[in-house]
């Protein structure tokens, strides 16, 4: 790389790939092979039970173990995950939120067992609960104790793990939930302010340390296909963050005011139709966050071309890593100072974004800040509205997406076979094996140590002490993630965030929507009461954007919609379907656990003698879709079914057929 004929180059950003699946063992193999291919950091994806604080054998974990990430239940799992990966040389990003303190404690304890001290550790815990309430849905505790846990981790890290970024403020998931660039900027800033204010208010954080705290706050952004605007967004956030540090928190050293961020480029815009086109989208989006030196990301992870089809294989992830390497090592991008300084066009766009974002930020601060704007559902409602507008624009063709709503003619793709061989399948035995390992671990640990460690954790938290030291002790003692989280659940309670799905209907309805409305009304008259649908999200998956948009559209075509939000058990869905007297059930599942959860719902309905048709939506490979239809599911929808009006029309067909009133 050090060709003397080539000019001085900037050091590239950290290359990561968001990965992890099945087991600690399998994920460790994957990580080591990724590092051998030139990846320079790790990004750990945890499975949903780990993210929401349930052991693998908890009833809510059923079907979810090892699906969207690696199951890490205790210190043995963590040690296996990083076997032969020296943690003093690694830069590790952990996508973990409600249970962030626990996973960081396991990481610290694992490092200690490797002979590495905490002050050598580099990386980040995502630890952003506000965006979990708004979009990602893996929250557990109410906002107030959640903010306390975050500020505990910040206060602890700033001295004990000084190279660690304890919080990664995520605007990423806001964009996935439909945020406009202005909303993305404003809500990320409001969120950061909520964290900083909480830390500032602590007795154990002195004013002298506050600038260092400010410097430890990093961000996690999304990069969409409108890459010029995305470049301007990065520059606007860089400037706003600098101003915020100076004006609100009195940070005098400009280095401490640097806007540091990692990126995962947009998955929302990746298409199931003609999926090879996604590679081009990913390249352009990667360019958007690396092009302007002033606002260049510190770490980048790229999705794989086939994510809308299912889980990517190692080869798919390698292809995305190669994009980063070509951009950093082959092109001349890193040889120049900022390429956009002095551009009037960019400057004007940055100003426009800053101004609008500042106005929206003021609105949120005026209602009491980000926490208040979560509880009163303000931010969530704005996001649902933006997302609704986006989907309408796709449906109408106003927002062109090549291969989806325009230029849909295609040759058969040699990359995608008919047999789902182009995606990764998680071994069905993974869950059972993980539970076996958990039981073996429980059997060999010292129960008295575990009991004492949990009591210590409980007492420390009740006395207002920092969560980190007793959690590290608990990790060493052999406590499991479920036990740790149960201790906190008992103290803090659990929370359900507002769904943000509001009762305001769209003002304009196109011809197709009006046609469906007429059918819905006519069917209601035949049925004797209005068509009523239950939109359910079973399992631990919190990605509720799809379910919310289905609920909004169903309301817009005149249906009565029951939507109770995320994380419902199949038994709760069955009960709700009967109690509410619905005519049809729509289930949304994106975590890959569709087979188990859907079949559980069907079995529950049958058991209770409830004869209601069920439709399913999610990232569902065709092979699974076929099994679901065979099991009695009336329709299966995947990301390629972007036309919500048509889906509603088919819901009417399904109810007509089942009620025999066609």
């Amino acid at each position: 790389m050090n060709d003397p004929a080539r000019p001085e180059r900037d050091r590239p950003w950290v290359f990561r790939t968001y990965s992890g699946h099945s087991s600690a063992e399998a994920s460790n193999t994957l990580y080591r092979s990724n590092l051998a291919k030139g990846q320079t950091g790790l990004s750990v994806a945890f499975d949903l039970p780990t993210q929401t604080g349930y052991d693998s054998d908890h009833p809510l974990a059923r079907g979810e173990v090892g699906k969207v990430g690696v199951p890490i239940g205790h210190i043995d799992d963590m040690e296996v995950l990083f076997r032969e990966i020296p943690l003093d040389q690694m830069n590790t990003s952990m996508t973990i939120n409600a249970t962030a303190a626990w996973l960081l404690a396991l990481y610290v304890a694992t490092a200690e067992r490797q002979g590495v001290t905490a002050d050598q550790l580099r990386g980040t815990t995502q630890n952003d609960l506000i965006k979990e309430y708004l979009s990602r849905g893996t929250y557990v505790f109410p906002p107030e104790p959640s903010m306390r846990l975050i500020s505990d981790m910040v206060a602890h890290s700033v001295t004990a793990i000084p190279k660690w970024n304890p919080v990664n403020i995520c605007s990423y998931h806001l964009q996935e939930a439909g945020a406009t660039p202005v909303q993305e900027i404003a809500y990320a800033m409001a969120n950061a302010i909520a964290v900083l204010d909480a830390v500032k208010a602590r007795d154990d954080v002195s004013d002298e340390v506050l600038p260092e705290v400010f410097a430890r706050i990093s961000f996690f952004l999304n990069a969409g296909i409108r890459f010029v605007e995305e470049i301007c967004k990065g520059r606007a956030m860089t400037e706003l963050w600098d101003e915020l540090g100076r004006d609100r928190y009195g940070v005098t050293d400009p280095k401490q005011r640097r806007f540091r961020y990692g990126v995962q480029v947009n998955s929302l815009g990746l298409t199931e139709a003609q999926p090879e086109n996604n590679v081009i989208r990913i390249v352009l989006e990667a360019l958007g966050v690396t092009f302007s030196k002033k606002a260049r990301c510190r770490a980048l992870q790229l999705p794989a071309w086939n994510e809308a089809l299912g889980l990517p294989r190692p080869w798919d992830q390698q292809w995305s890593l190669r994009i980063q390497q070509i951009l950093a090592y082959e092109t001349d991008l890193l040889e120049y100072p900022d390429l956009l300084d002095g551009s009037h066009v960019v400057e004007a766009k940055v100003e426009e974004l800053k101004k609008a974002a500042q106005e929206e930020l003021e609105r949120v601060l005026a209602m009491g800040g980000a926490v208040a704007a979560v509880e009163n559902a303000y931010m969530k409602q704005r996001l649902v509205e933006s997302h609704t507008a986006r989907l309408r624009a796709i449906e109408s063709g106003e927002l062109p997406i090549v291969g989806v709503n325009t230029y849909t003619e295609t040759e058969p793709s040699p990359l995608v076979g008919d047999d789902d061989s182009s995606i990764l399948k998680v071994d069905a035995a993974a869950e059972r094996e993980q539970i076996e390992r958990l039981n073996a671990f429980r059997a060999k640990r010292n129960d008295a140590d575990v009991k004492a460690a949990l009591q210590g954790l409980h007492d420390a938290l009740s006395n207002g002490e920092n969560v980190m030291p007793p959690s590290v002790r608990a990790a060493h003692a052999g406590v499991t993630g479920g036990e740790w989280a149960d201790t906190l659940r008992e103290l803090f309670g659990e929370y359900r965030a507002p769904t943000g799905v509001v009762a305001r209907e769209s003002q304009v309805a196109d011809e197709a929507t009006q046609q469906v409305r007429k059918r819905v009304r006519a069917l209601g008259e035949k049925l004797g009461r209005p068509l009523k649908i239950l939109v359910g999200k079973p399992g631990l998956d919190g990605h509720s954007n799809g379910a919310e948009q289905i609920a909004v559209k169903a309301r817009d075509v005149g249906m009565e919609v029951v939507y109770d939000g995320i994380r419902l058990t199949p038994a709760e869905i069955v009960q709700s379907a009967r109690d509410e007297g619905v005519h049809v059930i729509g289930l949304s599942i994106l975590s890959g656990s569709h087979l188990v959860l859907v079949l559980d719902v069907l079995a529950g309905l049958k058991n209770e003698g409830i004869d209601v048709p069920v439709i399913v939506g999610g990232i569902i490979p065709e092979e699974d879709a076929e099994s679901l239809r065979e099991a009695g599911i009336q329709r299966v929808y995947t990301p390629k079914d972007f036309n919500l009006t048509r889906i509603m029309d088919e819901v009417v067909d399904v109810v007509e057929a089942s009620a025999g009133v066609g």
Binding site: E144, R496, P498, V501, P530, G565, T569, R578, G581
Partner: protein, 333 residues
């Protein structure tokens, strides 16, 4: 109605009175059904049930307040409290916001959940349909069904204008959930919320001084509303999130029930029943139709004569009289 159908219907009524949970949803579906045949069956079922439960049956509590006041969280906390004492709870969640398309977004009514499907809790959501007064009628029918099969009925609704009054007629005790800083006393008075509620809960007591100020304002105004009884609505500070003030809220609910006494409670149920009959007849025949038959004076006399009978049965019987008056036979004009 065929005799087989009539038997099935009588059977449904028996199952409800025997508190069979599986009978509740089909009964609610029936009373929601607009088809003429179903209407007749529903009226028969409701009349039979109400004859048994008008003056007894479940404890009925209403929960109303502005959007965002924290009703969902409070509802969840109350349900858990009743459940912890092994009382079963039926919730009727009423959404009065009407839509041009008839569509409605329901659910999300209980912020706190147990995580398991508890057979001792039942939730049915009701949307506003197009017709005036229709929701009150549908809610009354639903409450009657649920009251037969559960220990406690909670009726939850967003407070918009007249809906508080409609809920007050359905329950023994109406709780108004106020939001701290939502307004000063004058605004509360203008909104008319000092007259109807029997208990006022100021939610989110963790907001401290602001919540206390709101509570003080409400307490100062609580005696000022126009009331028919001596009862002065207590103002309770609660935080459903933190679990504080719930003992006090329950105590307030209890003492309101005590203050009513057995006679007061019966009186209240009869008043509610009367309101239901009035709404039902006015909606179906209009004030002209009623006048053609003999007007409100006659209606009040008839209500007084049959004071312990089902309002649903009465509305059916009076409806037939009014129809024949309108056809010209037996008019008092």
């Amino acid at each position: 109605m065929s005799s087989r159908r009539a038997r099935a219907l009588a059977d449904l009524g028996e199952r409800l009175l025997a508190r069979e949970r599986a009978a509740v949803a089909p009964a609610l579906n029936l009373v929601d059904d607009r088809r003429p045949e179903a209407r007749k069956e529903a009226a028969a079922l409701l009349a039979a049930l109400e004859e048994k439960t008008l003056l007894g049956g479940a404890r009925r509590i209403g929960l109303t307040g502005a959007p965002g006041a924290g009703k969902s969280t409070l509802l969840g906390a109350l349900v858990q409290r009743f459940r912890s004492r092994d009382q079963t709870v039926g919730v009727i969640a009423v959404d009065p916001s009407s839509q041009r398309t008839g569509g409605a977004l329901l659910g999300d009514r209980m912020r706190v959940r147990s995580g398991s499907a508890d057979p001792g809790v039942f939730i049915r959501s009701l949307a506003a349909r197009d017709q005036l007064g229709g929701l009150a009628e549908a809610a009354r029918a639903s409450v009657t069904i649920v009251a037969a099969a559960f220990d406690v009925v909670l009726v939850e609704t967003v407070g918009v204008g007249q809906s508080e009054g409609e809920v007050a007629d359905l329950v023994d005790t109406l709780v108004y959930v106020a939001q701290p800083g939502a307004g000063d006393l004058l605004q509360f008075m203008k909104a008319g919320i000092l007259e109807l509620p029997d208990v006022v809960a100021v939610n989110k007591a963790d907001l401290g001084p602001m919540a206390e100020r709101t509570a003080n304002e409400l307490m100062a105004g609580a005696g000022m509303g126009e009331r028919t009884t001596e009862w002065v609505p207590p103002v309770v500070l609660v935080s459903a999130q933190e679990g504080t003030g719930l003992d006090e809220l329950e105590a307030a609910l209890e003492s309101h029930l005590e203050s009513l006494g057995p006679n007061g409670l019966q009186e209240r149920r009869r008043r509610g029943r009367d309101a239901g009959v009035r709404v039902s007849l006015e909606r179906r025949y209009g004030s002209h139709g009623l006048a053609a038959w003999g007007g409100h004076a006659k209606l009040e006399a008839r209500l007084a004569e049959a004071q312990d009978h089902s309002g649903f049965a009465l509305a059916e019987a009076l409806g037939q009289e009014i129809e024949s008056a309108l056809r010209g036979g037996g008019s008092d004009l």
